[in-house]
């Protein structure tokens, strides 16, 4: 049997809701497994690409240097990249920080000066700075601001039917045509 095309997925500055939406295709997931193999993805916990992929599904915007690397890695390994969900296509909720400086955001979350961080016990007023932690970018960027994206599936999350119909169309060489009810931004 010919090898099945591979699909990779990742969640960056998102909430994993769009991955939940992928799983929300219900019993069609069995058909999906007939159609494809999953490569790098939090679904099977494969951490690195094992080869060329037909489709990469991107959840979440690009908020730190690790996300930039992930996006470049996906562009390199995937024939087609699909931005899934509003965070990927327009930044989404994380992009609400785009009108403040990174310092303001971190102070709000961690600083005890002026009692800003409400839930953090942080008497030494330390902003997390371990070298292992990805560095935040100045803004949260829609993924198409960072690498070329081939298809966009909006929605918060992108509806399961939208993801399913687009994936099947791409894998069977049909045009991706979404009906009125499947293009929704909420």
């Amino acid at each position: 049997m010919a090898e099945k095309p591979k699909v990779a997925t990742t969640s960056m500055a998102g909430c994993f809701g769009c991955h939940m939406s992928i799983l929300d295709i219900d019993e069609r997931i069995l058909k999906l497994i007939d159609l494809v193999d999953f490569d790098k993805s939090p679904i099977d916990d494969i951490k690195e690409f094992t080869g060329r992929c037909a489709v990469g599904l991107l959840e979440g915007g690009c908020c730190n240097d690790e996300n930039v690397k992930t996006l470049k890695d996906f562009r390199e390994h995937c024939d087609i990249l699909i931005a899934v969900g509003d965070c990927a296509t327009m930044g989404g909720i994380p992009a609400l920080r785009n009108n403040m400086s990174v310092k303001e955001c971190l102070d709000e979350a961690y600083s005890t000066d002026n009692r800003k961080g409400p839930a953090v016990h942080n008497p030494d007023n330390i902003i997390p700075n371990d070298p292992e932690l990805p560095l935040l970018l100045d803004k949260v960027y829609p993924v198409q601001h960072v690498v070329k994206i081939d298809y966009f599936l909006p929605g918060c999350p992108a509806p399961a039917d939208t993801i399913w119909q687009s994936l099947v169309a791409l894998l069977t060489d049909e045009p991706v045509e979404l009906p009125y009810e499947l293009i929704k931004y909420d």
């Binding site: 931005a83 509003d86 296509t89 327009m90 930044g91 989404g92 909720i93 992009a95 609400l96 785009n98 009108n99 803004k139 829609p142 198409q144 601001h145 298809y151 966009f152 599936l153 909006p154 918060c156 979404l178 009125y180 009810e181 293009i183 929704k184 931004y185 909420d186």
Partner: protein, 238 residues
């Protein structure tokens, strides 16, 4: 007695009255011309350009352009709709339109236009402008992130409510809606039942405590594209 004028819209013969705009003549003939700043109860303004048609081959805004005999209007064609689609996409990147938590989602005319034109994401880079919220009023609030500068509220407040509580301030990318009080909308005579508050096409000038009232699936544009009521004549029967 009013004088009749005949013109064509997409090759179809239309009769209108002298002095009418293309928009009004089209509406009277159940023809939908996509629009955003236009509101049937308010004077034409012509700011959003969404109603752009080719009039005798030239782009013009239907909501401000008067009809004349023999005029040929191109409205529902690929070329014209593609121009409109680009305008709508520009409106999205020029503001901060967080549809996922906006109370107006599903009933928003900007979002509905994007749905009608099949926008999956704007082709232009997002600007992420900094815009201010004014929630000082007990019953009304302004979220300028969502404002499309249509001036409906300005026109309604001035011409219908007789208050002139809103106007634009700033120029170019800094243009924004401002209120007629130094320290917030609460110091203006704006009331919850003002026409100005009812006409905002987006979620910018909103009544408080009304959010998410209509469940998803029952909202205005959940199933039918904006303009369907005009195209089917349903808007007149109401």
């Amino acid at each position: 007695m009013s004088e009749n004028v005949t013109l064509t819209i997409d090759g179809k013969d239309i009769t209108g009255e002298k002095g009418q705009t293309i928009m009004d003549a089209a509406l009277a003939n159940d023809i939908y011309i996509p629009h955003l700043c236009h509101h049937p109860d308010l004077a034409p303004y012509g700011s959003c350009r969404v109603c752009t048609c080719l009039v005798n081959g030239r782009p013009q805004t239907a909501c401000t352009f008067p009809i004349s005999d023999g005029m040929e209007v191109e409205n529902d064609t690929d070329t014209v709709n593609e121009m409109r689609k680009q305008i709508v996409e520009m409106l999205f990147v020029e503001g901060n339109h967080y549809c996922m938590f906006c109370e107006k989602s599903g009933n928003c005319e900007l979002q509905a236009l994007a749905y009608r034109f099949g926008v999956t994401t704007p082709r232009y880079p997002y600007q992420f402008p900094k815009r201010e919220v004014d929630a000082s009023h007990p019953n009304v609030w302004i979220d300028r992130d969502r404002c499309v500068l249509c001036a409906r509220c300005i026109r309604a407040s001035k011409d219908v409510d007789g208050k002139h509580a809103f106007d634009f301030a700033g120029r170019g990318p800094n243009r924004h809606i401002s209120v007629d009080a130094a320290d917030g909308i609460e110091h203006t005579p704006v009331d919850a039942d003002d026409k100005a508050v009812q006409v905002c096409p987006v979620g910018s000038l909103m009544l408080k405590r009304q959010g998410y009232k209509i469940p998803i699936g029952q909202r205005k544009y959940d199933h039918e594209p904006i303009g369907t009521d005009i195209e089917t004549g349903a808007s007149k029967k109401q």
